[in-house]
């Protein structure tokens, strides 16, 4: 085979593969938008679902998803911030650094369904909290913890040592140094991580389907220990009655709403990342 022929064959396979990938991506987006928009209406967004979800809207599903995500954010953000600061400012031993790294990456690698089983055993049964949105929030918080820790840690780590030394030479205590120079950056970086984490958390089904959600007849929860309904579990239930066109129609509508929520989080994270990457010390 001549060199030129080889080169052309190779280029051909690159174009074919890229065409396949791009066609697939366009197919996904156009399907989601096309099918979703035709199911969308003001009434769909603001009314309660009925008839196992095949009729009515998704108002309480949206509320439930937002509630789960918000509680996950409130629980995990301070925890992640603390760990990121401890990791960068206090831990000096290499061995301990390696252990924390391994644990963070392990936590990040745990399959989402395992979080669901853990939540079912520990929170629902051992602590006897029952199926409730609060348990769902805790589990999603644990799931997004590594993302926030790493993102916050990276932005703290990019602060030059001279900043810390200057602050310390003014006679500030260790915590004052952290409070004035480290924490503002930690919060900035952590917030970007939080947005990435929430984009993932709001779409997760497997961790919450045993522990936080009920399918029908759920409205706004009156206490911490009541189940909610959420968009992903709603889509799951509707996908299982896919032979019913009305249910499928509602599933597409719910998917579009879910995708929009996911993209709001991930696009804001992307924008923040581009903005903060311009900061130079």
């Amino acid at each position: 085979m001549s060199r030129k022929l080889k080169n052309n064959l190779f280029k051909g396979s690159i174009y074919t593969a890229s065409f396949l990938s791009i066609a697939m991506l366009l197919f996904l987006i156009s399907t989601l938008i096309g099918k979703g928009v035709s199911a969308m209406s003001w009434e769909f967004l603001t009314s309660e679902s009925s008839d196992f979800g095949s009729k009515g809207g998704i108002f309480y599903q949206i509320i439930g998803s937002l509630l789960l995500t918000l509680s996950a954010a409130i629980i995990s953000f301070p925890l992640a911030l603390g760990m990121a600061i401890y990791k960068s400012e206090y831990i000096r031993k290499n061995a301990f650094q390696n252990i924390t790294n391994t644990l963070i990456y392990s936590l990040n690698g745990i399959p989402s369904i395992i979080f669901g089983i853990f939540g079912l055993i520990f929170f629902v049964n051992i602590l006897n909290m029952g199926i409730s949105w609060f348990v769902g929030g805790i589990i999603l918080a644990i799931m997004i913890l590594p993302t926030i820790i790493l993102s916050s840690y990276q932005s703290i780590n990019s602060i030059p040592v001279s900043y810390r030394e200057n602050a310390a030479s003014l006679g500030l205590t260790k915590w004052q140094v952290i409070h004035t120079t480290i924490i503002p950056r930690a919060i900035n970086g952590g917030f970007t991580g939080l947005l990435i984490g929430l984009a993932r958390a709001i779409g997760e089904t497997a961790p919450i389907m045993f522990i936080a959600t009920a399918f029908s007849g759920v409205t706004f929860p009156n206490s911490f220990l009541e189940p909610v309904s959420s968009l992903p579990t709603h889509i799951l239930a509707l996908a299982q009655q896919a032979t019913n066109p009305q249910a499928l129609q509602n599933a597409w509508g719910s998917s579009l709403v879910l995708i929009i929520l996911v993209f709001i989080f991930s696009i804001s994270a992307l924008v923040r990342r581009v903005q903060y990457s311009k900061i130079k010390y």
């Binding site: 030129k4 080169n7 190779f10 280029k11 074919t16 593969a17 890229s18 396949l20 990938s21 991506l25 996904l28 399907t31 989601l32 301070p78 925890l79 992640a80 603390g82 760990m83 400012e89 206090y90 924390t100 790294n101 644990l103 990456y105 392990s106 936590l107 690698g109 745990i110 399959p111 989402s112 369904i113 395992i114 669901g116 089983i117 853990f118 055993i121 520990f122 049964n125 644990i142 913890l145 205590t173 260790k174 915590w175 952290i178 409070h179 779409g203 997760e204 089904t205 889509i235 799951l236 996908a239 896919a242 499928l248 597409w252 998917s255 995708i259 996911v262 993209f263 696009i267 992307l270």
Partner: protein, 289 residues
């Protein structure tokens, strides 16, 4: 007062670190503890073919087979297509468009798996059933195909980074020798990039092994190994789809529940080993460069 503040601050960061570490360890301990009964009672019979809670038979072989098969199909499709597309985005299209395409691909990586499941049910399962003339389109092949699409963005974007981070001078030097694009890539770029690409594939593999919702909706959920074993157009079951379908139905504390925990624990071990391996592999590589 200052010393006091110092102490509170230190207390807060130490506490959050140990709470995070404790939670991570707790997940492993709880999962192991609740699968212990199954390991003790069932033992090596876990690695048999039949799963039937009514007769207290708990063999996970068909699920292990399903997991490996579905993941294998996904990688077989996604790795070549992904790497070739990454070459397109990093080497061929003009630089100023690269960022837009990359951002679009990263956004697609964020589409929740349940939505992929819905698309799979609405389209892919009907396509597969008409192409192969099957009664039901929910097969190992369908799940593998869908999984390939799900991990494609991960492979593309990480391989693209791997190619793009190689300094321009290598390409220029090779082109200066009169090599074709193919030869530049094969002789110069690929040897430098292949370690990072292997990392990308390992990461995608970890994600594929643990993927639940889309696979659960499309794999068919029948605990059997097809005969012959490469007949991928028949329904099967993966570890994750089994867990997704049955954990809600099993009684807490029963042997059935414990057996489900046991297969979950084995999956966890598999994925975590892979994760730690990837991490060590990347760390070593950074030292070399």
């Amino acid at each position: 007062m200052l010393a006091f503040q110092n102490k509170i601050g230190k207390g807060y960061v130490i506490a959050s670190t140990y709470v995070s570490i404790a939670i991570t360890l707790l997940i492993f301990i709880i999962l192991f503890w609740y699968s212990f009964e199954a390991f003790k009672e069932i033992g090596w019979d876990l690695f048999t073919r039949n799963w039937n809670p009514a007769t207290e038979e708990y063999g996970m072989l068909s699920m292990l087979y399903g997991t490996l098969m579905v993941t294998g199909i996904a990688l077989l499709i996604a790795v070549p297509v992904g790497i070739l597309t990454a070459i397109f985005t990093s080497e061929i299209i003009p630089k100023q468009y690269r960022l837009y395409i990359k951002s679009a691909i990263e956004l697609l990586a964020g589409i929740p798996s349940i939505i992929y499941g819905l698309i799979g049910i609405a389209f892919f399962s009907t396509w597969i059933s008409s192409w192969f003339d099957l009664a039901s389109g929910r097969t190992l092949l369908t799940a593998g195909f869908l999984l390939a699409i799900m991990i494609l963005p991960t492979i593309i974007t990480l391989s693209d980074d791997a190619f793009f981070n190689i300094p321009k001078k290598y390409r220029e030097a090779s082109k200066g020798l009169g090599l074709y694009t193919y030869e530049v890539l094969q002789k110069t770029i690929w040897p430098l990039a292949k370690k990072n690409i292997a990392g990308a594939v390992l990461l995608a593999l970890g994600r594929a092994l643990g993927e639940t919702m889309a696979v659960m909706l499309l794999v068919g959920s029948i605990d059997k190994i097809p005969d012959p074993f490469y007949q991928v157009t028949s329904p099967g079951q993966t570890i994750t789809s089994k867990l997704g379908r049955e954990v809600g139905e099993s009684a807490f504390g029963s042997l059935h529940f414990s057996a489900l925990n046991a297969i979950g624990f084995l999956l966890l071990l598999l994925v975590i080993t892979l994760t730690i391996f990837t991490q060590i592999y990347f760390r070593k590589k950074q030292e070399v460069l």
